[in-house]
Amino acid sequence: MPFLEIESLQKSFGAQTVVHHFEMTIDQGEFITFLGPSGCGKTTILRMIAGFEIPSAGIIRIDGKDVTRFRPNQRNVGMVFQSYALFPNLTVAGNIGFALKVAKRSTAEIKSRVEEMLHLIKLPHLADRYPRQLSGGQQQRVALARALAGRPKVLLLDEPLSALDAKIRVSLRSEIRALQRQLGITSIFVTHDQEEALSISDRIVVLSEGRTAQIGTPFEIYNFPNNRFVASFIGTLSLLPALVVDARNGRLSVDGQDVVTNRPLNGAAVGDAVTVALRPEAITLQPQSENRNNLDAVVEEVGFLGSVIRIRARLNDAVLSLDMFNNPNQPPPELGARVALSFSQDDLLVLDAAVAAA
């Protein structure tokens, strides 16, 4: 039985609908990420689960109980904010123990739980500091401990890493994930950073303009995007116009050259114009082998990024990006060189024409 159920959730502010019929079920202990550009409704959905916004329609159930109309303080949902939101007048220990104090637990119980949480976030020596005396990363770990101290049913994280610098962001996100696994707490993480989403989640919900674009594991979302929005939002993707030559065998014409895809054509018929997509890491400059596609192109730009070399190659009316690993024995191609781009028939995505148009 699902732990968190969201049924046709909808939210409008005045005439503007920011969340359209959002549906999802989440299992106990799952780590879900809401991913999308700003204004896609991801934070609004999170705030409705927390109780800070009242849905215009729909139902939210936590552990089988309908909490749609509950006040935030009746839901037992932990929340971590982008701005940390620690209470400046309380020490680290005071902040972490806040929920227990509100719940009128005994002083001894609060003390032991606070100590336990401080060890969990690896800051046992900072109990008596005030938030202003901590770094951003430390403050956010304290905020995490504060949200978890009252043993909430669900943990909500609203872009918790956005205010931190790059290095701390990466280390703290794996710390959050490890802590979440250790405690087995059902979590929802909101971010606009696709790398963060891919690295941390059990499942990702990609949102666009208040609608679900796709729900799936990071592997599914990255490798099998349902539509153009997901394909282009996650990772780098080259989009090419193509014509269907033979629908049954997946034969297409790209830039006047024949290619074959093993991916579904999503109902496109012979003569239809479709958009195909390729990941940069799917393309190699190796000579053609059997059952691979081959496109002739001209090298337009070579970007040396260290371990990876990113090359832009031009067809007649389209541009492709491809990544190759750096190899000291194999210098990158010269600008203007004619190259053969080789890629597997499985890697040529045909994007859903209907959604692509939306």
């Binding site: 927390a50 109780g51 800070f52 006040r71 935030p72 303080n73 839901r75 037992n76 949902v77 932990g78 929340m79 904010f81 701005s83 939101a85 620690l86 209470f87 400046p88 007048n89 309380l90 806040f98 929920a99 509100v102 719940a103 005030y130 938030p131 202003r132 504060r146 949200a147 009252g150 909500l156």
Partner: protein, 266 residues
Amino acid sequence: MKSSRLGAWVALAIGAIYFLVPLIGTFEFSLRMRRDQYSFDAYAIVFADPRFQATLGYSVMMAILTIIVGIALVVPTAYWIELRMPKARPLVEFITLLPLVIPAIVIVFGYLHLYNSSSFLPFTANERSTDVLLVCSYVTLSLPYMYRSVDTGLRAVDVRTLTEAAESLGAGWTTILFKVIFPNVRSGILSGAFLTFAVVVGEFTMASLLDRPAFGPYLQLVGANRAYEPSALAIIAFIVTWASMGLIQIFARAPKGATAAADRTT
């Protein structure tokens, strides 16, 4: 560079002279009660006057009541506006500034007209209810100072997110107000309180026209009838005011957490 610094010193000197010379003159005059020598006789007389103690005590009492009522009125209002009705802020700011624009004498005549002993709300019928009316009028008079101080304090912390954080941790409204909001705007509340204190202790118009034995009317009475004592009283009043200002400085800097949020937002 050098000339601009010189200019600043000249400006400061002119300001200091403008401010200090009358003060020093008043102080010097207040010491000259005894012929041909300086003494604190005028101060001794003032302190020995039972009306001085009674009126000052009365005004301090009124100031404390005004501060309590003012805080109870202004803090939740300013908090609610910051949290739920930010669009109403210009309107409320305008209303709180009205006491600076409308002379106290106009307000007090309004009171006398509305609440006289033959009206439907006869506040002026006896002394206790007149005191209630006086506290209400002082709350009104101190509104610009109290509201502004509290509002500044509230804006320095992220009230909305702190409220949400407390709510998600299970706190109800009273807990949020007393455990989260009050402690974090403490310096704002205190500066509002001391400004209110300074305003109320020296207030004349309201107390005089409502015929209450406050410090302001006593100052006026002594000033009209005596020579040296008014100067002594003026100096005492200054010291009271300055002590209030000094306390603002001390309390506004000292609070253990309240200034941290302000530092962060800059």
